[in-house]
């Protein structure tokens, strides 16, 4: 069998010219490919070398750069860079019709992108967008987020006439109050209304140094009477201005800790919070491990160290000033693992 088969196969005619042409074109194609890969590699090493040289040069020149080179802790890197959602949003809007992006920490760590346009458009870009967002996240070392690309939800829920009426009423009241307050010297931080059981109420944020609450309440009630709104209760929220100022200063610090700690799987962080009531400013970190976990204690110490290193760093100094603060680390089941005052 072997011989006759071989003989038969060898009778298959060879289209020599075509075959030679196919082979030489294959080698040609291969050469191009080899060259392009080599070129790319060359360029990358070249670019890396240039960057490296620059880096070394600048490290000699600038002490700040040298510090950066020695070691910039992760949270400080996050602090120095733009918030991730801004970066992603800018990148995507260059190329795609994106309505909005969102980031959620709980119940799951997710990154949403909402795409406008037809179903076909959505289908055609969703994978590319997902890939690009994932790349951007990865370039910062963020690996905890799941990326979701969605279409906008239909949000044309019917507005019932009753609440429309309420909204109109409150709008009128607010305008009148605002006009009136402009002429007075009452320190009012913010003004709003609320509905509870279909009853309108006025919400006022005022500094806790403002003592004329009764007067303000009376003025508002008069305006309400003019508009035939009946009795409108006024709720005062006394704001400690010092605390508010402190909150404002700490805001970027807290959001940096939030973004940085949540974005990486290895930190195992479930939630971040803060409060300065009662003093001092307290940063809460909730871990993803229960208190029963054998590593919980160690992880808590590590987390505390990372957060504290950042708060005490030179970059955070401007925001933190000399405020006393406290770091509290919770386990998943809300047991306190670590509590330190500074």
């Amino acid at each position: 069998m072997s011989d006759s088969f071989k003989k038969e196969v060898n009778q298959i005619k060879i289209p020599e010219k075509k075959l030679d042409a196919a082979i030489s074109s294959a080698i040609h194609r291969g050469r191009r490919k080899r060259w392009s890969t080599a070129k790319k590699a060359g360029l990358t090493t070249g670019a890396a070398a240039v960057l490296f040289c620059l880096f070394i040069a600048s490290a000699f020149v600038s002490p700040t750069m040298a510090e950066f080179a020695s070691k910039l802790p992760f949270l400080n890197q996050v602090f120095e860079s733009k918030p991730i959602h801004e970066v992603v949003s800018e990148k995507l809007s260059e190329e795609y019709d994106v309505e909005g992006i969102g980031m959620s920490y709980s119940p799951k760590k997710e990154f949403y992108v909402t795409v406008i346009g037809s179903q076909e458009y959505y289908e055609s870009v969703k994978d590319d967008i997902k890939e690009q967002v994932e790349e951007t996240l990865a370039s910062r070392g963020y690996d905890a987020f799941k990326v979701k690309v969605e279409q906008p939800r239909n949000s044309d829920h019917a507005v019932d006439p009753e609440s429309e009426e309420m909204a109109r009423k409150s709008e009128e009241l607010m305008q009148a109050v605002q006009e009136n307050m402009k002429e007075s010297d009452y320190a009012i931080l913010s003004l709003g209304t609320s509905f509870l059981d279909n009853k309108l109420a006025v919400e006022l944020d005022i500094p806790n140094t403002e003592t004329r609450t009764a007067e303000i309440e009376q003025i508002i009630q008069e305006i309400a009477n003019e508009q035939q709104l009946g009795e409108v209760p006024v709720n005062f929220h006394m704001i400690d201005m010092k605390k508010r100022e402190q909150e404002g200063r700490w805001q970027p610090i807290i959001s940096t800790i939030g973004e940085g700690m949540m974005a990486r799987k290895d930190f195992k962080v479930k939630g971040i919070g803060y409060s300065n009531h009662p003093a001092p400013m307290t940063v809460f970190v909730t871990l993803q491990v229960p208190v029963s976990d054998s590593d919980a204690k160690e992880l808590a110490e590590r987390t505390e160290k990372t957060v504290n290193e950042f708060i005490q760093s030179e970059e955070a100094k401007e925001a933190v000033k000399d405020d006393p603060y406290k770091i509290v680390i919770y386990s998943k089941d809300r047991e306190i693992l670590l509590e330190t005052d500074y």
Binding site: F5, V9, Q11, P15, L19, I23, S25, I27
Partner: protein, 171 residues
């Protein structure tokens, strides 16, 4: 061994050595490809793809002694991929041929080759390797990454099918 030194040269990126090696193998490669697809153009395409793949990856060839085996393996995989990709496409010439019921002679007296065409891909492969390339069962098993037992079974089944087929034709 002249071939061995050529393979080593080719591995280092010497195009001339690579071309010479291919020159020695090209007819066999073409005929194997032809056995899979049974038409000139497709066979040429498969050879082209095979040479291209070999050219860009020859650096990764670990044992220069096995150049021919390695090249054959690439060809088989390329041919199988090619068939898979084109499974649902019937070329125009073919449709015409079905209609006119006219046989295009590829060469005289190729009963066995014709019969081979009616076999499944996996049977074709073992027959080609065993009887055209003259490889041992062990070598075939190594090349296809499967146990020797499987190769033997497939070979037996392939031969039996060919026998039945050819006998019917004689009647």
């Amino acid at each position: 061994m002249p071939q061995l030194s050529k393979v080593k040269k080719a591995k280092r990126g010497n195009d001339k050595a690579f071309q010479e090696l291919v020159e020695e193998e090209k007819n066999k490669l073409y005929r194997m490809a032809y056995l899979y697809v049974k038409n000139e153009n497709d066979a040429i395409d498969i050879v082209h793809e095979t040479i291209y793949k070999a050219y860009i990856s020859i650096k990764k060839l670990k044992e220069p002694d096995y150049f021919t085996t390695w090249l054959t393996k690439i060809l088989i995989n390329t041919a199988l991929d090619y068939i898979k990709k084109n499974k649902n496409i019937i070329p125009f010439e073919e449709i015409e041929r079905y209609e006119t019921n006219e046989k295009v002679p590829i060469a005289e007296n190729l009963d066995l080759v014709d019969a081979l065409d009616r076999l499944e891909e996996k049977y074709k492969t073992v027959i080609i390797l065993r009887y055209y390339k003259g490889l041992q069962i062990k070598e075939i098993a190594h090349m296809l990454d499967c146990p020797e037992g499987t190769v033997k079974t497939n070979l037996h089944r392939a031969i039996n099918k060919l026998r039945v087929d050819l006998r019917e034709e004689c009647l």
